[in-house]
Symmetry: C2
Subunit: 142 residues, 2 copies
């Protein structure tokens, strides 16, 4: 059982690596892209702390993402100093990857009834909470 958890964790990491490699992105760039896709348009400065890099490094990271066509810089209407980084609308390779994954996961989920799904969701939630807590503990100079 704990073996399965570890295998899943490893499989997740390998999958992330494979995606990054496929997209031609480094780990940090991939992470940044993930934040942008999820979090909507973000100011450049918001990325620096989460990526654990200096503000000046963000410029280069965004440059590469822009050059690769994954994001675009938009001026922030509210604050003309800021630059909002937004995911570009059309990213065929990226959506292909996730469409594939979503479809496959759909067939997995279809194996279970509502009650079983509730159990699985409960397990996932608690596992996520544990992982986040452990991550926080590791990051802190405890």
């Amino acid at each position: 059982m704990s073996d399965l958890g570890w295998e899943l964790s490893t499989a997740s990491v390998l999958f992330h690596e494979a995606v990054a490699r496929r997209l031609g992105l480094t780990a940090v760039e991939h992470k940044a892209l993930g934040m942008i896709v999820r979090g909507g348009p973000l100011p450049a400065g918001a990325l620096a702390p989460q990526l654990s890099v200096g503000a000046s490094a963000v410029t280069g990271i965004v440059d590469r993402l822009v050059r690769a066509g994954y994001v675009e810089r938009r001026p922030d209407p509210d604050d003309r100093r800021r630059v909002l980084i937004a995911a570009t609308a059309d990213r065929p390779d990226l959506s292909a990857i996730f469409a594939d994954l979503t479809r496959e996961m759909g067939t997995v989920v279809a194996r279970y009834d509502a009650e079983q799904l509730a159990t699985i969701a409960d397990y996932l939630e608690h596992t996520i909470a544990v992982l986040r807590a452990q991550t926080a503990k590791l990051s802190d100079p405890a």
Copy 2:
């Protein structure tokens, strides 16, 4: 539901990164260490393809792991050209991390009865299979 899966995936990746950072290892070094800890003593050459680096790079990677005290080089009695990389017996920080995680995951697992655990295990197995298949597809020049 698919949100949960994605969150778990992200949490796993962040956890792995936190572990690597805590141990003072780069992503490749951490990956190599994982292979060695799991797969028992491995010849240096076996690491190169899985890490996607050349054979000469492995020397440096192992050097850093040795210097940090996580692994040691052993001569292979069967083939004196080879060098087996083995995990060192005493790695207090490393076992502390995993002891903590294992304990917490134990309390999560304790929430369910045998039937529920079977469902969860089934879900994990199938999810792992999907992730591995997708990873393979991405890595292949399909």
